[in-house]
Symmetry: C2
Subunit: 732 residues, 2 copies
């Protein structure tokens, strides 16, 4: 197993597998030393070699590597046996580890994952039980692997110069960063490729069909169905390709789980920690008030800003209108992050309170809550325009003068605050502008923030550091921190490690969420502006590359985790596609011909017609989805074929082994035909008359061997045939 | 393994496992004999002992039993190994069969199933390959086991005298008749117990709330959701209880499957027969025109009869009205069976044409088609009344005079055929009457037909037989058929077997369909007449017992098959519950206050309000279903616990076995602390200066052993702590 960078050079990682940052700034000296010794001891006990160097700001860096290859092989074998038990692998791994590793070599992410488990798993599971930032180990600030800089350079270079990512590129991500992150890239790549269709069709629709085209709406909904269902199919394929199918069955126990009872299973003798599911259900019900609160708070904020904006742009006619229009945007951009921050915090606490036993269940519950928040922040504004402002605008706008308070200071007279009520009419362009804002402007801003912000942060931080150390030099003349003790041949390396220790931890679910929300705009509102997909196509090409850059440069090297799905976001995807069917049909009805009726005036909206459209569209959607799902489930793929084949081989092997001991079926002894003679009949009679014989035995002894049975059959058939002939003759 | 009836007596089955009826009436004598010999030989080759007796009407009865216990044990072992391979059993069965059978005794249905497989499985699977009524074996008319009369008597007695069936009663069914039939009884029993709730609530609603109560509608929909979801949960529990979980994964190859290509798998060397799924998909699309044709034909018939009936009862005022009203019923009862027969035939052919590889896929596809037919025949009439006659009645009725043709011969004058157009008003009682007809009258009639018809048929047939044989005696004086050759001690037994050979084959899916359709009336229309569930409660108590009686008396003993679900009917159940949410809400809106508006006149139906009601109800339904589904999925049960425990034990065993060879984790050698002295530093420097040393080695050699690392940590922490003190002092 070669370490990440086999040849020593300026970018060497010194064979280091993981770095632990131990911070003792807030700890009393003696306790810090005691705990540190315990840490080193714990690592050593699980077979990890350690080296200690000083770190930034009252911290130590503990470098860790596996002490011996045999030891690592043992862990790999143990992990693979566990996989086999849970059905991730078809066959048990070979006991001879050398052979096993030759047949199925260890890839880097697997190696790092196994070592990470060795560090963090509880001692009962054979690990050192180091849990960063919690409990006993709160001094351990982070555990991270070192970037492979040479590889990263090549990676970014390759991706930024190629138009399309090939499956091999994704395989490489999987080999380096693990399946969880690879799934994100695979999903985004797959989504990107699929986007070509609605982008092309959307461009055509924009040129030819105009806005709110029912044809485009049908196409878009169909595309959403096919994409989500196809992705579900592809997910399985990828899992097979990467050998991680069913890993989600290996449930990682959640450390924060608090049990209520501890029972010892009478059969297994295993201690089971139990939290009653009825109690959890009661806690889960809290998600309903949570959702209502989120909707209320964020809804009020968005609706208020929306109202102010409409008031200013459509009613207010005083001075400074051009700048006052940005007032609501200002309120939104300052208030929204604060509120979502608070709500996210509540979501986290609520999920903690629900007290799940496994990491996966916890993540799923949290994701659902985050989806509620994100759904409202992302889509409610457009919903308000489309389904409140447009149909009920003329009813509502007159009441908007309550917002006149916001601009009263700027108005010169009352008249400017009242507008010309009678002249108000719905502005159908508002909806399109809003959609364009969310699907182009916001995406670009977001993209920029994602890349630029961390860069600025990093540079600023470095500057600040430099300034601080210079000041320290001037003031005390002494060495700031302990850097001068670095051996010169290590200085550059340690400098790099200290820098990487400062970086943020990459959370793939944030990026995944971004993609799912983007998909939402496409499914829900692209009928408003068919060029949406074109914008996303460009954006996502960039997104894939900037995310790679972000991971390689802005973040600590992510710990590889396994996954066989993108998880609960898949449900969000399905839900958004479904809602898309509803909104698209409603939008097409409401705005057909740009909302202008046959007479040139805003066309009359009929409640029953709108509802019938939506009702019909929704059920068509569900039926089509069912058909598409069944059809896609039937698609075979090389991956599935491979899996079937492997399973077949394993089964055959076991089956053959198990049945080896069992002889072949022996045909019955052939006793030959005993002529049915007077003697044999007498013999039969004699046997039958033996009082103690069971009637069953008598029954089964009439014909001995199959030849006799066949003979008897012949006799009987012939007799009947004779009768038949006799009867036929008689009838003649 | 004791045979069904261990003590010989008048009801003995003579240790017979199966009886094959070989009919050669239409075959030429020589061919019949040749084929018969082949049959006996084939049976003998797989280790079955045979006895031949003459049967009814130019047929032979071949009695079959397993020749030796060892042979049977081998087959049992083989079957259990296969189960283990497919995940039905957690652990591989023990190789020593005696032990294995003691640990997990063979039950009767398992024994019969294995012997049946031995007879019908293809030679490549180790069977005799006898396929009744098809191909080479078209002379083999049927393969059936013999009823255990003594047990049957006790069974019927017990069931007809107990109010409730206990789980043990179902276990007994499973032991005797196999899991597939046991699942039907378990489902019906579970449905019956659940019915108590809507029956009680329905009675209350009928007394207090009146018809079309929204409260009842909500309750009913909720009940449908809980029942279907609960049953899905219980199904799994039963599967665990009966040890059949995942048996649906063992896919039985369909004999009629026609492959298009045969490819030899390069890896397994197994020949795979392939039929392209795209081609099958094309054929499956034919289900759309099929559904349309079914809807058109049956719909026209039902609508016509409905129209005639409305015309006669509401428009026609001539003579004989009281009897003419039954005219449409007459048309329906004669035409409907003919049409459904033809359509079922088409459904069968269509499914054959779709050419499925497995029995399960074939059955599923067929079930969907049958469901379409049954849905229309069962519910369309009521749908027409509720959603066409009532809302649009006053528009349609005037056009019904096209049906005057049907009664013109009876009318005395034209006026009688025209009715009093102006006086026509919707008859809201019609809907209730219709629902009562379907949920009470039709159920009773059906029940009666199911029990009485076969009885009459059987008795009539026996009479006819007797008459025929008497005539034969009178005419020829000779023995009719070959019965006189029966040995006297066997005569009674053979008589019984010949009679059982004449009986029909029991098809459990017919009974299951009946239950599902009944559930449909409850979910779709019970809001019309809340006593529906009461009627069903009584009906189903009887149904369970008459079905038992039917199996025991009217039918051949069914061959036991395994199952771990009620199969595709489960989907129908879910669909009906869903549609129930739609129809109930629509009915409540349409008929609230018995369809009478506030002014006492039929109330005005508003399209948008109806649609909004349905839209709202449907989405509430879906959300509630999702919640119920998640909640029920969390319910634990002794079965599931048992399964988990078993799986745990097996895993632990394998895991321990696999890791035995692997030594325990060895902690690193404790090299002791080497004091950091001038010498040691020089030594370090020396090592570092050795040109050929890798920098990685130098890095990892600075601290030898964990104690040195810990020591270094201490040194560093102390140094920082010192600095900290110095700085604090300075600041002071």
């Amino acid at each position: 197993m070669a370490p990440p960078s086999p040849s020593p050079g300026p970018e060497t990682n010194m064979d280091v597998d993981y770095v632990l940052s131990y911070r003792f700034a807030t700890t009393e000296k003696k306790a810090a030393i005691g705990q540190f010794e315990k840490l080193i001891k714990a690592l050593s006990d699980v077979g990890l070699a350690t080296e200690v160097r000083s770190g930034e700001d009252q911290s130590l860096l503990v470098f860790v590597k596996v002490a011996s290859q045999e030891h690592l092989y043992g862990e790999v074998y143990r992990s693979r046996v566990k996989d086999w038990m849970h059905g991730v692998r078809a066959a048990a791994p070979e006991k001879e580890t050398k052979q096993a590793l030759e047949a199925d070599p260890l890839y880097e992410a697997e190696r790092l994952r196994i070592i990470h488990q060795l560090i963090v798993n509880s001692p009962s599971e054979g690990g050192a039980g180091i849990t960063p930032k919690s409990g006993e180990w709160k001094n351990v600030e982070s555990i991270f692997a070192l970037h492979d800089r040479e590889y990263n350079k090549k990676w970014i270079q390759k991706w930024s110069t190629s138009y399309l990512l090939k499956p091999e590129d994704l395989d490489e991500i999987r080999d380096r960063l693990g399946e969880k992150i690879a799934y994100y890239f695979a999903f985004t790549q797959s989504y990107f490729s699929f986007l070509v269709l609605p982008a092309a069709f959307g461009l055509g629709a924009w040129l030819v069909l105009g806005h709110f085209s029912p044809i485009y709406a049908v196409f878009s909904s169909l595309w959403c169905i096919v994409f989500t269902e196809y992705w579900k199919h592809q997910e399985v394929d990828l899992a097979i390709r990467w050998g991680v199918r069913n890993v989600s069955r290996i449930e990682a126990h959640r450390r924060e789980f608090k049990h209520e009872q501890e029972i010892t299973d009478p059969v297994t003798g295993e201690k089971a920690q139990i939290f009653p599911s009825t109690k959890r259900l009661q806690r889960q019900i809290l998600v309903v008030p949570f959702a209502l609160v989120v909707a209320l708070i964020l809804g009020t904020l968005i609706a208020t800003c929306f109202g102010i904006e409409v008031f200013i742009s459509e009613v207010y006619s005083g001075p400074l209108q051009w700048i006052l229009v940005f007032l609501p945007t200002g309120i939104l951009t300052t208030m929204m992050p604060i509120l979502t921050g608070i709500l996210t915090n509540i979501a986290n606490r609520l999920t903690d309170f629900e007290n799940y036993e496994t990491e996966a269940a916890h993540q799923t519950a949290l994701t659902y809550k985050l989806f509620i928040i994100n759904f409202i922040t992302s889509y409610l504004g457009i919903f308000l325009t489309a389904f409140v402002y447009v149909p009920f605008g003329s009813l509502i706008v007159p009441y908007l003068d309550i917002f006149s308070l916001t601009v009263r200071p700027f108005a010169e007279n009352e008249k400017q605050l009242q507008g010309a009520d009678s002249s108000f009419s719905i502005n159908p362009d508002r909806l399109r502008k809003q959609v364009i804002y969310f699907t182009v402007t916001a995406q670009i801003v977001n993209q920029a923030l994602e890349v630029v912000m961390p860069y600025i942060k990093r540079k600023g931080f470095a500057k600040y550091k430099k300034f601080q150390s210079e000041r320290a030099m001037r003031n005390g003349g002494g060495a700031p921190h302990a850097f001068v003790n670095d051996a010169p041949e290590e200085a550059a390396f340690l400098e790099r490690v200290r820098q990487e220790a400062q970086l943020d931890v990459y959370d793939v679910s944030t990026d995944l969420r971004e993609m799912v929300l983007q998909f939402g705009y496409l499914s829900l509102f692209s009928v408003v502006w068919p060029l949406t997909a074109c914008s996303f196509l460009v954006n996502d090409w960039l997104e894939l590359r900037t995310d790679a850059l972000k991971i390689a440069v802005e973040m600590q090297r992510p710990t590889p985790f396994r996954a066989d799905t993108i998880g609960p976001w898949l449900d969000s995807l399905s839900l958004l596609a479904w809602l898309g069917g509803l909104t698209s049909s409603a939008l097409v009805y409401l705005f057909s011909n740009d909302g202008i009726g046959p007479g040139g005036r805003p066309h009359e909206i009929k409640g029953w017609a709108l509802l019938l459209t939506v009702f019909f569209a929704e059920h068509t959607f569900l039926v089509v989805r069912w058909v598409v799902r069944i059809s896609i489930a039937k698609i075979d793929s090389p991956g599935r074929q491979k899996e079937r084949r492997e399973r077949y081989i394993v089964r055959k092997k076991y089956f053959d082994e198990s049945l080896e001991s069992l002889g072949k079926v022996r045909p019955l002894k052939d006793e030959g035909v005993v002529e049915i003679t007077r003697e044999s009949l007498e013999e039969d009679a004699r046997r039958a008359s033996m009082g103690d014989a069971r009637p069953e035995d008598a029954f089964w002894n009439r014909q001995r061997g199959w030849r006799e049975a066949a003979k008897m059959g012949t006799v009987l058939i012939e007799r009947v045939a004779e009768e038949r002939t006799v009867e036929t003759k008689k009838e003649l």
